[in-house]
Symmetry: C2
Subunit: 241 residues, 2 copies
DNA sequence: TTGATTTAAGGGCGTTAAGCCAATAAGTGG
DNA sequence: CCACTTATTGGCTTAACGCCCTTAAATCAA
């Protein structure tokens, strides 16, 4: 194999633009469930540009460590949260001359869902990485176009919540249908009919009862889990658990 | 603004991986309607690797000419077909260490739909760029992972055909509902009910009659066109006409 | 001219899914 | 045991979908 730099020198003969490559990075919109609200994982930037601004956890492909851009995304998330997300999906790629004040820049954005209790809050990171309620974001100025990216990720999540049950990845291993319904209501910002929602879950065939029941106030609810071996969601996604 | 190379030198201080960037390109799956079959635009590669193989029209971002990766996609399509497509949509980004035999490589793939009659077949290009029926592809060996990419683009198009009317971009300015239905049947590979299809078109509110009618065998059909000012499709796409 | 043929467009109806409201079930806390 | 809370299900209304058949409006062949 020819080394990357030699390769570019070679290509330069044919196509001058092949040499001057734009910067390529990966960014992640990592979402979890806070107290009654969606939260997004942000990191404080230590370098310019946007030094000391909060921004999405991401970074550059490591040609040695990473086999694919999905690996890059997962690696960066793991560095910040300590775990692999329950669901990750490619959102879109944004590349233009204006999003980075310095120069042309390209980023492939991934949306990841993760159960809050699965995150290990490493103390040393807590000042550099933090969860923010999405409602707080309007009062914050994030790095680059990250505010807009988060909005697009939330829109995609709303779409998913309307015609899929992907948001279950925000809950843990097991959950009740009421909990899942509340998550959907939170994402969609409106109440859903319990009967209709239960029908959706049953007809999907993606879930099964664990046999366990909740305890506490009110009638106990049945716990459900993702049916094992199910190719759970009809989307391009990477299941990591 | 600091130049790109200086920028990379600067970044290198903080993150060594920032310097060694993978190659980034844009590829296009340009689809049109042939005689009773979908056709995809391919170009014969003049350089290694995969020299003399057919592959997707694409290339590298030109930092001077292009304002965004969408511009890159449209520019490359225009170079090959002479026109801008009626519909273009970002499909996905594939980046890994194996798709290019030489080295790490990333490509953002766009799917474009274009009416065949709007393409200007430039004679000088005809040996280098050609339309191929999608059924022919199984007998061909394309460059890189382009065969797989085309399959994914066709799957996306099938998805679109089931819950949207995006495929109308494969027809010209005006078309009858029967023509549109036949396109959908071609994409989906199955017959559709005329009544159901007409209802879908009407309920969408995206189309209007032109007032003109067809002539020829059988009862004349009403011509329809995309309603102007309609934010026609609920997807991330770039309308160029 | 007339009828056969062809394609377009719409009417009618049974089946299925969605939406809505209320009843019932099964716990906890006094 | 009763009040309260939450879960789950029953049943009805309404809308959408699928299917078939009729009608409309042209061409084509005698």
């Amino acid at each position: 194999m020819i080394s990357a730099m030699n390769e570019r020198e070679f290509l330069k003969q044919y196509d001058k633009s092949a040499f001057e490559q734009p910067m390529f990075s990966v960014d992640n919109v990592v979402l979890t469930l806070g107290k009654g609200e969606l939260e997004v994982l942000l990191v404080k930037r230590g370098e310019h540009p946007f030094k000391d601004c909060w921004g999405l956890p991401g970074g550059f492909v490591d040609l040695e460590k990473d086999q694919s851009i999905e690996s890059t995304a997962l690696r960066k998330i793991k560095e910040k949260t300590g775990v692999e997300p329950d669901y990750i999906e490619q959102l879109e790629t944004i590349g233009n001359a204006t999003r980075d004040p310095r120069d042309w820049s390209i980023t492939t954005v991934f949306t990841a869902l993760i159960a809050k209790q699965r995150c290990t809050p490493t103390d040393e990171n807590v000042v550099l990485a933090n969860w923010f309620a999405v409602s707080e974001l309007s009062a914050m100025t994030l790095a680059f176009d990250h505010t807009k990216i988060i909005q697009r990720a939330l829109k995609r999540l709303r779409d998913r919540a309307t015609y899929s049950l992907v948001p279950c990845a925000l809950l843990g291993e097991k959950f009740t249908l009421s909990e899942l319904q509340k998550v959907h209501e939170l994402i969609l910002g409106k109440k859903l009919e319990a009967k209709v929602f239960r029908r959706r879950v049953e007809n999907s065939g993606q879930f099964e009862e664990t046999g366990e029941m909740t305890s506490g106030r009110g009638r106990p609810a049945a716990y459900y889990r993702l049916r094992s071996g199910t190719d759970a969601f009809n989307f391009e996604f990477i299941r990591t658990v």
